[in-house]
Subunit: 407 residues, 2 copies
């Protein structure tokens, strides 16, 4: 058996980033940047005012109150074309270009303005401005050519805004990796379809479809394949063009575990691993043509936990990201945890804060790997390393919080 | 001036959830549930095996090794039609229905099976099974009629899987709130368009569009309106059918703050608030026809911080969710923080872990509200409450981590 970390490392090592595509800025949020974004302009493009007020020459205002002649008004987007001479001022607003001759801005609240039409008139300045006061210097946010965003990077709302402000209407991002999803099993039906005796409604396909979307991939939900080698081989063959094929079910050791032999004739290189973890020991990984293949266990909790531990990092790697292990936080155990065996365990747990505001993770009473209701209600997975000793209630444990990216 | 909390409370109080719509299960991930989801079936639908092995009568195996006649094989989805009699066993696989007469499952590894074709043969049982061992009882995950998911709830991948497993092909969710976005200003251009002297490329519209998507709304990016009351009024009038109109710019106190008077003729009830916060003091809130209206400041950092503090909760409220304040965590200050004035401050900061693994938030050197590059590079906002005293480096502060939902 191999460790969780080694399994993830092997998967990541076998995957390469997919190609880039160009998307409109409005479609770039949440995508993974594939080319650097440099500023195409200075921001701001000129010295501008940070406030509503008056552009002045600081030397004119050394002995308040100073009375200045207002020779014009320069709203944002309408720069003053002249020069501010001795004893003169120009009315400004936030974002207005500082006119030639002026070196400072006096905010409106520190003035008394007698307007005589067309923005002209006389203003009394009641303070001594520091030279440069309330002036945002040209290129103070960034200068033309500054590298603003470097790949790989999942673009936030702020990043999109930054790219916009730097003059980019298009961004180069990784295309969404195409992930084909194949649930297998004679007993599996689609929701809403009749359920035969001994049948079960498919959930893995829909969990995986959601996880693929959450991670930034494009899911392709294949029809459910019966436990028949030819049907499974045909389904996977039909997924050509996918970057990754994810199967669920059929990866255990029993007689009816057909995925592996079914795919052998497709000429694939397939590793069958036992990962030292619970839930989710049986696992397949390999390649079918141009696609990588991940075979997840059929039990829904096992499939979901394996998707969090391995599929999300795999998709991130296809997007050019590092594909890190899920983030963990520390919490106090809300109950005694028995000593663990040699398999890393992932206990479904709820999170709460104790009276001191400390995070407490309490394992669910039922940890069976078939129980979707417990999994959906969980807030976190408590990590139990291989051979971890018993933990008393109140001791510290590492947990993976669930719910991020709505997974 | 009103506090941040009061402003958010006033906004939430003025908003009601939008109506529901029905979506296919495959489109339900991340949407907000609007109707309860009860189980339409027992899961599992019968007592089933948790392992690959043999269905036995425990009493037959009291003195190992027991030799049992294998009278059939029942793969998942193909229940055994007969009854397991004394001295008999049926071969099972994970998910197989436990046949009548049997009460326990012995896992394959604890047996020695001599197959004689068609799944029949003889099996040696080397252990004493506990009655009920490795049997998942009917309805052990959930019973028909059990309430599984209650609204309001943003549906995770696990929730979607749970709904699938309970027989739901469709879910009732809140429709996405339509949020019209209006950037204003004579100086504002779209990315890629020519930038006139004193001009600035729009970023707020793209930040807001991304934030609306992240929160679960449907953004409508209106053309940029010049600083002209009629143009602004026409733009907002054209947004009829929106649930919320968000403007940026024009909400300050200067002469060229036109949004408020521009919208008066539309018969709107508009509140103009000064919120005791930095960045982002000037703020509008009101109604235009059926739509609520939020007027954000024009400075990009102010607009973004206000979107995080007010727009995200507003959209959540339209989705029927509580619309909570952004979550905070505790961190140590990475530098001395000056005493604060009467306005709540939100310092752009980077996060790191110190040698002990403790989170450290270090404020950016530049805190000007026009600086998008600093904002995009930030990991968190350090909260400085009104009139907070000076904080020494290493003391605890509350921070809002950024980047969640790719905001």
């Amino acid at each position: 058996m191999i460790s969780v970390a080694e399994a993830r490392q092997r998967i990541l090592a076998a995957l390469s980033p997919v190609g880039p595509e160009v998307v409109a800025l409005s479609a770039a949020w949440g995508r993974v940047l594939a080319a650097p974004v440099a500023a195409r302009l200075d921001k701001p493009g000129a010295d501008v005012s940070a406030m509503d007020g008056f552009a002045v020459r600081a030397e004119d205002c050394a002995r308040p109150p100073a009375r200045l002649r207002v020779v014009g008004s320069a709203p944002a987007g309408h720069p003053f074309r002249g020069t501010v001479g001795p004893g003169e001022a120009v009315r400004l607003f936030t974002g207005s270009v500082i006119p030639a001759g002026a070196d400072s801005v006096v905010v409106q609240e520190d003035t008394d303005f007698a307007e005589r039409g067309e923005g002209a008139g006389e203003v009394e300045i009641r303070v001594v401005p520091k030279p440069g006061a309330h002036v945002r210097p040209r290129a103070g946010d960034f200068a033309h050519g500054t590298m603003l965003l470097s790949p790989p990077r999942r673009l936030t709302a702020r990043d999109v805004g930054l790219a916009a402000s730097a003059g980019h209407a298009w961004l180069t991002v990784r295309r969404r990796p195409r992930v084909a999803i194949l649930a297998t099993g004679d007993e599996v039906t689609l929701p809403g379809d009749p359920v035969p005796e001994g049948g079960v409604v498919s959930s893995n396909g829909f969990v995986l479809e959601s996880v693929v979307r959450a991670a930034g991939g494009e899911p392709i939900l294949l029809p459910i394949a019966p436990d028949d080698p030819e049907a499974i081989a045909a389904a996977v063959a039909a997924a050509r063009g996918a970057d990754l094929v994810v199967t669920s079910g059929g990866a255990s050791v029993g007689q009816h575990d057909l995925v592996r032999p079914a795919l052998a004739p497709l000429g694939l290189a397939l590793d069958f691993w036992k990962i030292a973890m619970r839930p989710g020991k049986p696992f397949m990984f390999g390649r079918v043509g141009d696609a990588a293949l991940i075979g997840l266990p059929g039990n829904p909790v096992s499939a979901t936990v394996c998707a969090i531990l391995f599929l999300v990092p795999a998709i991130e790697r296809l997007l050019g990201l590092p594909g890190a292990a899920p983030a963990t936080v520390r919490a106090r155990a809300g109950a005694r945890l028995a000593a663990n065996d040699h398999r890393a365990d992932h206990l479904r747990a709820t999170l709460a804060r104790d009276a001191d505001g400390v995070l407490v993770a309490t394992p669910a009473a039922r940890q069976d790997s078939s129980q979707m209701a417990v999994l959906a209600a969980a807030d976190a997975l408590i990590l139990r390393p291989p051979d971890a000793p018993e933990v008393a209630a109140g001791e510290w444990v590492d947990v993976i919080p669930l719910g991020g990216r709505d997974i």
